[in-house]
Symmetry: C2
Subunit: 184 residues, 2 copies
Amino acid sequence: MEELFSKVLQISVRCRDSEERKTSIRISIDLHVTSPVHKRDLRVKLTDDKDPFFLFKLSISEEDFQSLKVQQGLLVDFASFPQKFIDLLNLCYSEQESENPRFLLHISCQSSVLDGPVALSVVETNAFKHLNHLSLRLVQGSDKEIKEYLALCLSSLKAEKQLLEQNLQKTEDNLSRQLSYAQQ
Amino acid sequence: MEELFSKVLQISVRCRDSEERKTSIRISIDLHVTSPVHKRDLRVKLTDDKDPFFLFKLSISEEDFQSLKVQQGLLVDFASFPQKFIDLLNLCYSEQESENPRFLLHISCQSSVLDGPVALSVVETNAFKHLNHLSLRLVQGSDKEIKEYLALCLSSLKAEKQLLEQNLQKTEDNLSRQLSYAQQ
């Protein structure tokens, strides 16, 4: 698995019968290569650093991409699609503090709360209209998928904590040594 | 929820058609009180600090306890049962480094791997025989339950990490201040 992108982005969320609201969601993009057939899948994941149960995901194989390409009139191939998508996300990221961002991410869902499938869109707003650059359909993670995602979070958090403990120990040792030297 | 016990204990595991093996399992005991009816449930949980997907659990209500009491010939009531159970676990804990522990925990399961229901027993071995002090039937956690358990682990680990970060900052500040004072 190769991580291509992972950032917290401002997303405008619209559910059925609800006011539009802004929220911070982490978007991660990974490339999974299955050996030995060398099948490549692009995986898009939406998570919320504050809500462990929030998980929406999409896996795009090369075949899936062909229909996406036709359906949305894309002009790139599967190999260059990830970088183009990341470029769009970075455009949104760079403008998210602005009052009137030109590029904005949207999530829309058919039900009144965020569950079931959602559409994630990158929308450019100019003086004339809203231009939809890309729209992807993500489904909510199952209990099993959320369980696996949380186990991964837990293991990386454990590693971070261990590093921090070592750091604390090293800092204490270092400074105590310098202190006893200075006090001599 | 009131946590009554949480310790890593050596447990002897026997599955069908497999050799008996020893493993370290965390046993946690909590008392859940549901208001407003003031219904009390004793919850027993087996987890493995090294395997995030390992979860076996049992919930004992006051009614459940009545059948357990009859079935296993217990002489205590529901209110004093948790402490008696904890006393037994502590006996096992205090002897687990010994070569021939008198009190030992056993897990047995009908299938060849650890899934499905298991029996957790506290067994005393004397010169004459094995005495079964208590035997509880635990079921494996569902994906949803494991998901919730991992979210809890994640949140407490996050809190620990945050504390550690504050600690590191404080230690650095403190020692730098002392150092600059000593160097003057």
